[in-house]
Symmetry: C2
Subunit: 333 residues, 2 copies
């Protein structure tokens, strides 16, 4: 438990018999250093167990090597996806030699201003951006390098990354159509999500609707308690007895939907085919295993970090939509 004196760059320089600046250049690679000197310095670093002091480095270089990950943490979020995303952000950031500061939106715009102004972080990653997100105007004003997950209404001049939800919705409809289904339905997010204008929900719906021309297609919002789901599903089949294809874009409800179908005596996939838009593990855990469109959280996180790093290096970084991928399992025919 004794507090060991920390090893500084001066210690390394002394041990290797070189100047402090030489050690710095070896470590940063910003100037040519002879192979022998480099090796000597590297050995000393290893032997002494040297780790550069983050504060000093940040102060001198004006780069903290830290990015902020701003999670919304509001109700109705898709936790597993969020978590996958966060994991992938941390892992990718480390690959770029950066760490991740976790922020919640609770602190509000002030929080963003604070971390930016205090140079605690070099850039911002905002998750789960809404169509009219209050953070967006601030972001513009801040002029801090940033990448958004999700597309706000006006994405001009911003860098955004997201799954192409319109394509995902379309993919589901097309797949069901190709299977011969003539009457299909989309069970979407809870009402509150549409009301908030989260974007991804509307875009899925739009894609679904557009791709379903020529079919009978309906879409209904879907709450997340078992009872409400069961009610919604029952109503749906009451009003559309000919329904044979179901798209579920609500991870929390997908299990309930299957249970409700079971309770109604409709078997999957014999009576009705079900496609879910959700992570693979959820789809695989269901019974029957669900044909699903993957939300590529990991890929989104990876790309978001990559783009942010590009921006930090002063490179251009364009927004991008990631292609959804349909995996056929046992819930459709």
């Amino acid at each position: 438990m004794r507090k060991v004196r920390t090893v500084t760059i001066t210690d390394v320089a002394r041990h290797a018999g070189v100047a402090v600046s030489t050690v710095s250049y070896v470590l940063s690679g910003k100037r040519a250093i002879s192979a022998t000197t480099r090796q000597r310095v590297l050995d000393s670093v290893r032997i002494l167990g040297y780790h550069p002091n983050a504060g000093a480095r940040a102060l001198a270089s004006k780069r903290a090597n830290v990015i902020a990950l701003v999670l919304p943490l509001r109700a109705g979020m898709n936790l597993p996806v969020l978590m996958q995303f966060a994991t992938s952000v941390v892992a990718t950031a480390r690959r770029y030699d950066h760490d991740v500061l976790l922020m919640t939106a609770d602190e509000g715009p002030e929080g963003l201003k604070r971390v930016a102004a205090s140079a605690l972080v070099d850039g911002l990653l905002l998750m789960d951006v809404e169509v009219r997100d209050p953070r967006v105007p601030l972001l513009r004003e801040l002029g801090e390098p940033s990448v958004l997950i999700g597309f706000p209404a006006d994405a001009e001049g911003l860098t955004c990354v997201d799954l192409d939800f319109a394509r995902a919705g379309a993919l589901c409809a097309e797949y069901l159509a190709s299977g011969g289904h003539r009457e299909i339905a989309l069970l979407g997010a809870p009402r509150v999500v549409y009301a908030r204008g989260t974007g991804f929900a509307e875009r899925t719906l739009a894609g679904f609707t557009a791709a379903a021309v020529g079919l009978k297609a309906v879409a209904v919002p879907c709450e997340e308690t078992y009872d409400e789901v069961a009610e919604t599903v029952k109503l749906l089949f009451d009003e559309h007895p000919g329904l044979t294809g179901l798209v579920v874009h609500n991870e929390a409800a997908v299990g309930h939907v299957l249970a409700a179908l079971r309770a109604l005596g409709r078997s999957v996939p014999e009576d009705v085919s079900v496609v879910a838009i959700c992570p693979d593990d959820v789809a695989e855990r269901a019974s029957p295993a669900l044909t699903s469109v993957l939300i590529p959280a990991e890929e989104v996180g990876h790309q978001a970090v990559r783009l942010l790093m590009a921006k930090l290096d002063g490179l251009p970084a364009d927004s991008m939509l990631l292609e959804p991928r349909l995996t056929i399992r046992e819930s459709t025919r």
Copy 2:
């Protein structure tokens, strides 16, 4: 987008007509400053929009005002609880004027060593600590202030916080017993969790078993796919036809358990009472709403930060177990 020159403490000092050190003392409160001077400085801070440079502050004060939150992010974790926990940690840390660096265990012990040695963080918060956690020995050697969520086998000299799972298990058994149930069962975590020795699972089991003396009580592990859950439940009732009380300590499976009971034609709570150990929102979302023992993630996060802050101030910080709380809803009688 133009990069505005950042406001430094020197700017504030000049604007307020005082020395740099005076500004520092106003902000830290470490020396007496007259009310008039303080006010003048505070006004300048506000007018200029000054935020201390984090790197410089860390360098000079040897305190980064950042703590690391180390999430395991392995399979079979309880995401919602984790998330609640993380949220509460961030919020509480902010109240102590600290930020939170997010780390995953992927980087391994090296990662802990790195952030500690580089003074990126002042202390560590390790989540989901296992009975024999490889991070624990390292932690001892590191001598970095830390708080663990969960209890390792040898907690000597460490500060740990957790829900009192033994008490939670006991509470469930006692409650069912008091309701007149004579034959009860515990559906626990997946096998892999017991195999890993995560501690909380065993402790719940131990508490349950100890409190169930005089009753017929069995405990079985429980996987998380619907099919396996249904199988497990069916088997359970085949072997124990007299079973009337069920404790479910597996958040991912709890919905499946209810569905399986429905499928078996056993109604809740008429035929069988169900108590879950899970967060309130999961319990409320089920049908019928579940009588449950709360995992007080928020409180755990709060206490963990509080203890860590105490340690950072050189104060003693004892391990603590938090009392579970039983909420009676509609799934028991």
